[in-house]
Each structure stands twice: as structure tokens, then as C-alpha cells.
């Protein structure tokens, strides 16, 4: 834990910053990769799966990789959120 603290620039306390960019970014960081995956799966289902073509299979595999890795990192990120009292 000590190592992690040294790695990053000193953080501001909540009152010192006018805009907490990270606060507005967080939902975007989590949601957008899933939006991309859903679009890829949707494209694969409509153009590939339902028509029996396998040209679009890579879109499906890509979507699965994106979902898996994002879940892998989103869960510890969400768990790490703390309420500052």
C-alpha cells in the first residue's frame, strides 16, 4: 500500500478542487466499453448469427474479450470507492 502512495502525485482534498474530473469520468469509463461490446454483439447477431455467416464472428470474440477484461478491472475499481467522512 505504501508503495502505491509514493507512485502518484499528491491528491487534493475534496474542497481544494473546483472540478473533480475523475468524478465525472468514472461512469463514462465503466459504461462506454460495454456500449461498444453490446454494439459488436448486436452486429454479430443481426448480420452474422441470424444469417448463418461466419465473417462477423470476430466481432463477437472481440466483444467477449472487451467485456471480460473490463469486468476484471471494473469490479476492483468500484470496490475501491470509499466515502470520505
Amino acid at each position: 500500500m505504501e508503495e502505491k502512495k509514493i507512485e502518484y502525485l499528491e491528491l487534493e482534498t475534496k474542497n481544494e478542487k473546483l472540478i473533480r474530473v475523475e468524478l465525472w469520468f468514472a461512469p463514462i469509463l465503466i459504461i462506454l466499453p460495454f456500449v461498444l461490446s453490446i454494439l459488436l454483439i448486436w452486429s454479430w447477431v443481426i448480420k452474422g448469427y441470424l444469417t448463418g455467416t461466419n465473417i462477423y464472428d470476430q466481432e463477437f470474440f472481440l466483444a467477449i474479450i472487451i467485456i471480460a477484461v473490463n469486468i476484471m478491472f471494473d469490479i476492483p475499481f468500484i470496490k475501491s470507492l470509499r466515502i470520505h467522512k
Binding site: K4, I6, E7, Y8, L9, E10, L11, E12, K14, E16, K17, I19, R20, V21, E22, L23, F25, A26, I28, L29, I30, L32, P33, V35, L36, L39, L40, S43, K47, I55, Y56, Q58, E59, F61, L62, I65, I66, V69, N70, F73, D74, P76, F77, S80, L81, R82, I83, H84, K85
Partner: protein, 232 residues
């Protein structure tokens, strides 16, 4: 009079509730380490570029948006380094990035180069490497020795290249996967102060595969498989 009082009370209640919610939101504290990791994995969203239709005006629009985004980040970084914007406004910067160009600009420039100048068959696995390989390696290094972490990372990279090149001839797929994963590994391992690994991890494998592709096309062998992502 009664009505006015009621309205005032409702207004006060609303304001109190709003400030309570604002306080609650403001009190959320982020872990810098995981924030950076999620920022990496989020960047895969830029593959959206390939989903958007390829019609003339959309093509121009998506190219100009990509260039503008990176230009905006460039200006932001310039202002931060010049001290016009306080570095304290940038969440999650590393200590070594205080007086140096931050890695997110390198990351953005590399993605832009890949999107604009490389075919998607080359750029997609390279973007996957930058978005996923770097945070995975980072986490593995926390748990295992460096050598073990890099070995596992190398195989993960091979997987990314195999998934995107499996439609090519099997020998080409193996060659491209080894070349790409090797390039990404060197990009991640060889750290120099003037070049961030976020840039090298994307550009080095892309250039190696580009050279292989162009070299073989001189003797009339086209190794490039079909598209991976098709526009909607």
C-alpha cells in the same frame, strides 16, 4: 399567504436534499491505482471508430473528432507543463509525469496514428495490447516476479493477435502473433524517459507487422486477412 409558505418550504426541502446529495457525491474517494487501470481498459472504446459507417461525411467527421480530441489533450498537457493549469487538477498522475508529458497524451497520439494510418487488422490487436496488456502486466507484477508477469503477458498478447488474425493462413497467424506480441513485450519492457510505454506498446508491434505485410507484398503475397469490425 399559505400557498407562498408551502412553496418556500418545498423549495427549502429541495435545496437541503440537493446539498445532501452533492455532499455525498463529493465525499466519494477514488483509488488512483484502480482509476488508472480502468482508464486503460476504457480506451478500447475508441474502436468505435470502425463501427461508425464509412460514408464520406461520417469518415471526415470521425477523423476530425479523433484529431480534435488528441489536439485538445495536447493543449491541456501543454498548459499543465507550462503551469497555466495546476497539475493538481489532473487526477492519477504519476510522480515522474510531473515535469514530463503525461502518458495519456502518448496513448492518444499512438491510437490516433493507428486509427488513421494503419489497416484495422493491424491496429485492433495493437490497441487491445495497449488497453489490456498494460494493466494486466501491471497487476501481474504486483503478484508475481517480473519474468513470470511478462511471460503471462506475452501469451495474453498472442491471444489478442490470434483472435484478430485467425482468418489468415495458420503460419501467417502464428508469425504475426509472435511478432506482434514480441513487439508489445519489448515496448513494455524497454523504458526510456522520452518515450512512454503506452506509445511503444502500440506502435512497435504495428510497425513490425506493417513491415512484414509490405515486405511480403513485394513478392505478391498478401497476408492481410479480412476486416475484423464492419461498419453498422
Amino acid at each position: 399567504m399559505e400557498g407562498m409558505k408551502k412553496v418556500r418550504m418545498i423549495k427549502q426541502k429541495f435545496t437541503e436534499r440537493n446539498s445532501k446529495i452533492k455532499k455525498k457525491i463529493d465525499s466519494v474517494k477514488f483509488d488512483t491505482h484502480w482509476f488508472r487501470r480502468v482508464f486503460h481498459t476504457f480506451a478500447v472504446f475508441f474502436l468505435m471508430y470502425y463501427i461508425l459507417p464509412d460514408e464520406y461525411w461520417i469518415h471526415i467527421l470521425k477523423n476530425s473528432i479523433s484529431v480534435s480530441l488528441v489536439f485538445f489533450v495536447f493543449i491541456l498537457e501543454y498548459l499543465r507543463l507550462k503551469g497555466k493549469i495546476s497539475g493538481k487538477q489532473f487526477f492519477g498522475l504519476r510522480v515522474y509525469e510531473k515535469n514530463r508529458v503525461a502518458s495519456y497524451l502518448y496513448f492518444g497520439i499512438a491510437i490516433l496514428i493507428l486509427l488513421l494510418f494503419f489497416p484495422q487488422q493491424i491496429s485492433i490487436p495493437c490497441i487491445l495490447c495497449a488497453c489490456f496488456y498494460d494493466p494486466i502486466i501491471g497487476e501481474l507484477r504486483h503478484r508475481f516476479r517480473n519474468r513470470t508477469a511478462y511471460s503471462i503477458g506475452f501469451f495474453i498478447c498472442i491471444l489478442f493477435f490470434m483472435v484478430t488474425w485467425y482468418k489468415a493462413n495458420i503460419w501467417i497467424m502464428i508469425a504475426v502473433s509472435l511478432l506482434g506480441a514480441g513487439g508489445a513485450l519489448i515496448g513494455e519492457m524497454k523504458k526510456v524517459w522520452w518515450l512512454d510505454d503506452d506509445f511503444a506498446v502500440q506502435i512497435l508491434p504495428a510497425v513490425l507487422i506493417l513491415l512484414l505485410w509490405q515486405g511480403l507484398s513485394l513478392i505478391d503475397i498478401n497476408i492481410l486477412p479480412g476486416k475484423i469490425i464492419f461498419p453498422i
